[in-house]
């Protein structure tokens, strides 16, 4: 969902509109290459992952930053990724090469949950 926001924002810029239209019309598979191989930040503040769900293109690197005074972790229940204990201001980075849904949680405070959705950029 959030991945569409940069695309939408482009419509406000005439030059970008043309670029996006071309991209959409001529080569949907690579629509908005600028939207794909990038980085996304997920903040951990007040015992909450924010945004709770991030939608990204394959190849995106997601970085979690702990802003709390209490340590947290980022753990995939399926074992795909597991951060070390993140103390205040510590970061954890993971790159998502394949499409799919990747739920995760904090193994210290399991009521804290989030999800990374990896899919092609929207047409």
């Amino acid at each position: 969902m959030t991945a569409t926001i940069p695309s939408l924002r482009r419509w406000f810029y005439p030059a970008a509109v043309l670029t996006a239209a071309l991209a959409l019309g001529l080569n949907p598979a690579t629509a908005g290459p600028a939207d794909t191989a990038q980085e996304r930040i997920v903040r951990i503040d007040n015992f909450t992952f924010s945004p709770e769900v991030v939608t990204v293109a394959p190849g995106t690197t997601v970085t979690w930053i702990n802003g709390d005074d209490i340590p947290h972790t980022v753990v995939s229940p399926s074992g795909r990724f597991r951060s070390k204990t993140l103390d205040t201001d510590d970061r954890f980075t993971f790159t998502f090469p394949a499409k799919g849904e990747y739920p995760y949680f904090c193994s210290l405070h399991p009521h804290m949950t989030g999800k990374v959705v990896v899919r092609d950029a929207p047409e």
Binding site: T48, D69, P71, T85, P110
Partner: protein, 317 residues
């Protein structure tokens, strides 16, 4: 907040006002006394002031030392632990032993455990531990804790022992936590618990201690134990059960039938009352107030039909 009401059956328990007073930030420890099989807690400060009716059997609960924590809410968690231990030394009635209900360390570092051990040793009291989630953060996910504190325990560190006719059970509910869930005991531990209490007569007073509250205090902040109800079901036949927890860094009490629940203060930093802040993170209070919100608890077992007496004591009045 319904949980905090006085029970309708007239059984001993805190009244609403008492509970609300307890919820005010204060205390370093809880002094627990077992009276007629029921434990009562009282703040250490009050226990020091009272000192008139010496209980025959007293033990002390200390919790959430978070040694290594150095953030704004308390830059010197080691110092406040030291203050708590000094308070314990001043008690008129020497407790038989100490129970630490977890989060001994903040990040499970060897140095943190070393510092905590050194200070706790100054009490000269035998100490029983259960881990908090902060004690299992080593690369071995708890191996360091078990190596240090797990002698004679089973599984992830659960244990039981008998003292003065009271059966004590230490449970571990901070291991293998499930996404979206609360604290977790797990099948193995519940099976063990069932066998552990099977041979006990219903008149045996039971004291259960674990880090995260075994009852649901506030699930939105994870303050409860997913399968805690199953453990409590195994204990319902007993005439006197006292459940001592930590984790939430404040005193909250509840009585349900024959089961009395009590959570202890931290010696490191206070946390907000359920739902009163955006998150359960460390609560920064004016420097002069911090020691009113930290504490230990002393529990004593006294003869007769009364409950265990629990005295919560703040580091500063």
């Amino acid at each position: 907040m319904n949980d905090l009401r006085q029970p309708d059956d007239g059984s001993p328990g805190p009244d609403r006002r008492g509970v609300l007073e307890c919820m005010a930030w204060a205390g370093t420890g809880l002094l627990w006394s077992l009276g007629g099989g029921l434990p009562r807690a009282m703040g250490l400060e009050k226990a020091l002031a009272a000192g008139t009716e010496p209980a025959p059997f007293t033990f002390l609960q200390i919790s959430d030392s978070h040694v290594g924590f150095d953030k704004a809410a308390n830059p010197d968690a080691l110092g406040t632990l030291r203050e708590a231990v000094r308070k314990i030394a001043l008690l008129p009635e020497k407790p038989a032993f100490l129970i630490h209900t977890g989060d001994i360390s903040h990040l499970s570092k060897e140095r943190e455990f070393d510092d905590a051990d050194q200070i706790l040793r100054e009490t000269g009291l035998p100490t029983f531990f259960v881990p908090g989630e902060h004690d299992l953060l080593d690369n071995g996910q708890g191996r360091a804790y078990l190596g240090r504190y797990g002698k004679g325990s089973r599984g992830a560190g659960w244990t039981s022992f008998d003292r003065n006719g009271v059966h004590f059970i230490g449970l571990v509910n901070v291991v293998d936590l499930k996404a979206g869930g609360l604290g977790n005991l797990g099948e193995d531990q519940l099976d063990w618990l069932e066998r552990d209490v099977a041979g006990l007569s219903a008149s045996t007073p039971v004291v259960v201690f674990a880090h995260i509250p075994l009852w649901t205090v506030y699930p939105e902040w994870g303050w409860g134990t997913q399968d805690g109800g199953r453990a409590l079901a195994l204990l319902r036949r007993f005439g006197s059960v006292t459940v001592l927890n930590g984790h939430i860094h404040q005193i909250i009490q509840k009585v349900e039938g024959h089961i009395a629940f009590h959570t202890a203060r931290s010696t490191a930093f206070p946390q907000p009352a359920p739902g009163s802040a955006p998150s359960p993170g460390p609560m920064k209070v004016p420097a002069g107030d911090l020691r009113k919100l930290l504490g230990v608890a002393s529990v004593s077992l006294v003869g007769g039909a009364g409950p265990l007496a629990i005295i919560d004591t703040p580091l500063a009045g």
